[in-house]
């Protein structure tokens, strides 16, 4: 069985899964239960400046029969008295010496305020501190949270104040509400932080109620942007995680990254690990299903690691990161075409309409005699199950015309029905970067490009 334990910038936990700083980590009682369920660590809900909260603080984005693909919230940092939080942090840590107890903090942008909160957290016996530079609502209006994370200079300055007094590992949590996530990360590196974490929530408005015309969620006749999280944000988080891993400054600093953003299952977790995360934080999934989900997250990850021959988490970390590339480095000679398994196909024809209307028109409807037929080519008197099913044409890819866009693969409702088959390259391997260096005319001039295509046998139908 794989060893799931981690040592993250000196913070140890029996598995890489921490509850993210959020409502699930609002109190000692909750974190006790989470640890009983098996969570490896918890980042205490941010403590710091005094706040007041509002009602109707969570909105959700649901789609089809899936509830809460994403949550959005305007809940602020902890509204419990700071003394209560500090006392419970100490109690939890004493009760659970093997778990990671990290405390998220956010105070006014003054050195004395930061010095004070860091010292008080350290007095609890906590294992680490996470600096909340990401909260995008409410706190940012008071110059905290993402107002710090969005300005690399502020980020660096405050981190320096923290590092002046910090005796335990300090994690800087980054906001995704920025054009280039790498900039604040470099600032944290420059200021001497011990680790990074990302992503915090994304600015969002969930929607508008079409009966009342109120913003969702409705807060006494008003509403506004809130932090967006959950399964829907995972691809954004993965990209930002990979961006840090590919940046030389961040990479060479050796700072470990705690990854989060939509992790719901062990599969999501494994992907974050493969792209460079060394610990993983979860929030929306437990807000949807409770702390119990940690069992399968650990069990599934462990079984997958056994199957793949990985015995420790560090063996998995960043394993796929080197494959993340820019477009200019992709091999232009790589070819794939869609192939439809006619035995699995249920003839919903979604691939046909997607390809025909919106992609590259290379799927045909073919009747039993092999003739290409238009859709709805039946007599209005024809009806019944037997005729409708029996005369339904097949969907057939014209491989010569298929550009390998992969749209049909993505929308097919049947598992493994459409495969993207890799074809041997028809021309020598070359990247756009190489082409633009070797034959700049081709990449700058359409007639030259057309000539190049003719020469290389590149046909676009």
């Amino acid at each position: 069985m794989a060893d799931l334990s981690i040592n993250f910038a000196g913070i140890r936990s029996p598995n890489p899964f921490w509850l993210a700083s959020a409502p699930p980590t609002n109190s000692g009682a909750q974190i006790h239960r989470a640890f009983e369920a098996g969570w490896g660590g918890a980042v205490w809900k941010t403590i710091g400046a005094p706040v007041l909260n509002v009602s109707n603080r969570y909105g959700a984005w649901s789609y089809g029969n899936q509830k809460m693909l994403a949550i959005n919230n305007v809940e602020l940092i902890s509204d419990r008295p700071i003394q209560t939080n500090l006392r419970e942090i100490a109690e939890v840590k004493r009760a659970w010496p093997d778990r990671a107890v990290i405390v998220s903090a956010m105070v006014e942008s003054k050195p004395e305020a930061w010095h004070d909160i860091i010292k008080r957290i350290q007095d609890t016996g906590a294992d680490g501190i996470e600096l909340n530079y990401g909260c995008p609502h409410g706190m940012s209006e008071r110059g905290m949270g993402s107002a710090v994370g969005q300005v690399p200079e502020y980020c660096e300055q405050i981190t320096r104040w923290v590092m002046e007094v910090a005796k335990i590992p300090v994690i800087v949590k980054l906001t995704p509400n920025i054009s280039d996530i790498v900039m604040p990360a470099r600032a944290a590196v420059a200021a001497g932080a011990n680790a990074l974490s990302l992503i915090n929530t994304i600015n969002s408005i969930i929607g508008v109620d079409l009966d009342t015309l109120q913003i969702t969620p409705n807060i006494g006749g008003r509403g506004g942007h809130g932090g967006y999280a959950g399964p829907a944000v995972k691809p954004i988080a993965l990209n930002m995680l990979a961006s840090l891993g590919r940046d030389a400054t961040v990479r060479d600093s050796g700072l470990p990254i705690s990854g989060m953003g939509g992790i719901t299952t062990w599969r999501d977790a494994a992907e974050f690990l493969l792209l460079g995360a060394r610990s993983l934080q979860v929030c929306t999934a437990v807000m949807h299903y409770g702390f119990r989900i940690i069992e399968d997250i650990c069990d599934g990850l462990s079984n997958w690691m056994d199957e793949k021959g990985f015995s420790t988490i560090p063996e998995v970390v960043a394993r796929s990161l080197y494959r993340v590339s820019d477009f200019k480095d992709f091999d232009l000679s790589f070819r794939a075409v869609a192939r439809i398994d006619q035995n699995k196909c249920i003839r919903c024809d979604l691939c046909y309409v997607a390809c025909n209307d919106t992609a590259h028109q290379c799927i045909d409807l073919v009747d039993k005699s092999g003739k290409v037929v238009p859709p709805s080519a039946y007599d209005p008197r024809s009806n019944g199950r037997v005729e409708a099913v029996g005369t339904r044409p097949s969907v057939v890819v014209r491989e010569l015309d298929c550009v390998g866009c992969r749209l049909c693969y993505n929308i097919c409702p049947v598992e493994n029905c459409i495969q993207m088959a890799e074809l041997p390259p028809a021309k020598p391997s070359i990247t756009w970067d190489q082409l633009s260096k070797q034959q700049p005319d081709v990449t700058e001039d359409w007639p030259q490009m057309e000539q190049y295509r003719r020469k290389m046998g590149i046909r676009i139908h």
Binding site: G64, N65, I346, R347, C348, D349, L350, Y352, V353, L365, P375, S376, Y378, P380, R381, S382, N383, G384, R385, E387, A388, V389, T391, R392, P413
Partner: protein
């Protein structure tokens, strides 16, 4: 022999307990989650399988987005009797049978979703169509069943003046008189009649076309005629004591319109194994018969009932006696005692392709019963002879435009269904297509 007295239904033992609509309406949550399952197939097989070719993925997705008005309109555009069809269609053989999710999963509950959209429209009295400007053309429709109502509504939309002659007290045809309440309450059929009238269609009930008005009057006063007369009475078995046997269609009609007067035996025999026979057996069971036996001279392989109906009635506790043919009703002092039958063996296929039943000599058996109902099909339409129309196997012959051998006289519904199984939705499509043909004829011929 001990014969249990007949069970008489009184008003306190209302049939609402046994014969009320079997399937409850979908809740909003059920409709939303079920509609979300629809894959939204392109050129969908359910739409092809539907005889009226309702754009099913379109109306289902409209349910999902909460556009119920648009959903109902989508259904009405292809099928004016969508509320009846949602309830009575043999969906297993049609739309749901063709659903791509059916082979390995559960097909979408298309019928029930359609009912959800239709219930929305009727409960809010939504109106969707207005007649086009008057064309000045007059069309007579004979018979206010599904084919007639569909044709009438479509013609009214074109702007024609339509009069429907119905010989019975109420319009709706089999939907009103012949489909058990379990599947469709009378109110649904009558709502649809009212909707068609609202389109400007004139309805004249208790008018038996052929005599009142006469054929001559019809031809003189109307530019075109559509015959949707359905079928005739149940044929005679031609066995002694037949006067003791009840007619299946009348049995169903009684259960719908006069449930408190419906007399159901405790030991009931139903002769026949079609869908009407199954309905009769269902009524008998649900209203209190202890034992219901269906008798059929062939086997379950030849019976005309839909497989899902056969399964249904078996679960209702009805037993089947195959390969038996009634030869005599046994009665004493005006009191029914039972049915004498003869064993049957199957021979060569007959003209219908089904094996010919042959009585086995000296194999008579007696089956006790205190009530016998027959549902063995219906006579061919008699109006064909009256108008001297060409027929096919006794059904009115029509061309691809639903025009009979007499120019300007069209026909549709069960009265032309010489092949295949007759159903409400087929009749609706006939009426719709015939309306288009009639319209084109009137427009082109001035």
């Amino acid at each position: 022999m001990n014969i249990t007295p007949e069970v008489t239904l009184n008003d306190t033992a209302s049939p609402s307990s046994g014969l009320r609509e079997l399937l409850p309406p979908l809740s909003e949550h059920e409709a939303i989650t079920e509609s979300a399952r629809c894959l939204m197939c392109y050129d969908a097989p359910c739409t092809h399988a539907c005889p009226t070719h309702i754009d099913i993925p379109k109306f289902i997705k409209k349910i999902h987005t909460g556009n119920l008005r648009g959903s109902a309109r989508t259904i009405f555009e292809s099928n004016l009797l969508g509320a009846t069809c949602a309830r009575v269609c043999p969906v297993q053989e049609l739309c749901e049978g063709a659903c791509v999710l059916g082979s390995e999963h559960k097909p979408i509950a298309i019928g029930r979703l359609q009912r959800y959209a239709m219930d929305h429209a009727y409960s809010r009295k939504l109106e969707f169509f207005r007649p086009a400007a008057s064309t000045g053309k007059k069309i007579a429709i004979v018979g206010a069943g599904p084919a007639g109502l569909s044709c009438a509504g479509e013609l009214a939309k074109f702007g024609h003046a339509v009069t429907v002659f119905e010989k019975r007290d109420l319009a709706g045809g089999l939907s009103t008189y012949g489909i058990i309440s379990l599947r469709e309450p009378v109110e649904v059929a009558l709502m649809e009649v009212a909707m068609v009238q609202k389109l400007g269609v004139r309805l004249e009930t208790t008018r038996d076309a052929g005599t009142n008005p006469t054929v001559d009057e019809l031809q003189r006063n109307f530019d075109s005629i559509f015959l949707s007369v359905g079928l005739g009475n149940t044929p005679q078995l031609g066995i002694p004591g037949e006067e003791f046997i009840l007619d299946g269609l009348q049995y169903i009609e009684g259960s719908k319109h006069h449930p408190s007067r419906l007399r159901v035996g405790s030991n009931v025999i139903v002769i026949g194994a079609g869908n009407t026979a199954i309905d009769c057996a269902t009524i008998a069971r649900r209203i209190g018969a202890e034992r219901v036996t269906m008798i059929y001279r062939r086997t379950e392989n030849e019976m005309t009932a839909y497989p899902h109906e056969y399964d249904f009635v078996k679960r209702e506790g009805v037993t089947f006696w195959f390969l038996a043919q009634p030869i005599r009703v046994i009665h004493e002092k005006g009191r029914l005692l039972g049915l004498e039958c003869v064993r049957i063996e199957l021979g060569e296929p007959d003209s219908s392709g089904r094996p010919t039943p042959r009585p086995v000599p000296e194999s008579t058996m007696f089956l006790p019963a205190d009530q016998i109902v027959k549902a063995i099909g219906q006579h061919r339409p008699s109006i064909a002879a009256l108008l001297n129309l060409k027929t096919e196997k006794g059904f009115i012959q029509v061309n691809e435009n639903f025009e009979t051998s007499f120019a300007g006289i069209f026909a549709g519904g069960d009265c032309i269904r010489a092949r295949g199984s007759a159903s409400t939705v087929m009749a609706v499509q006939d009426g719709k297509l015939a309306a288009r043909a009639i319209h084109l004829r009137l427009v082109n011929h001035g």
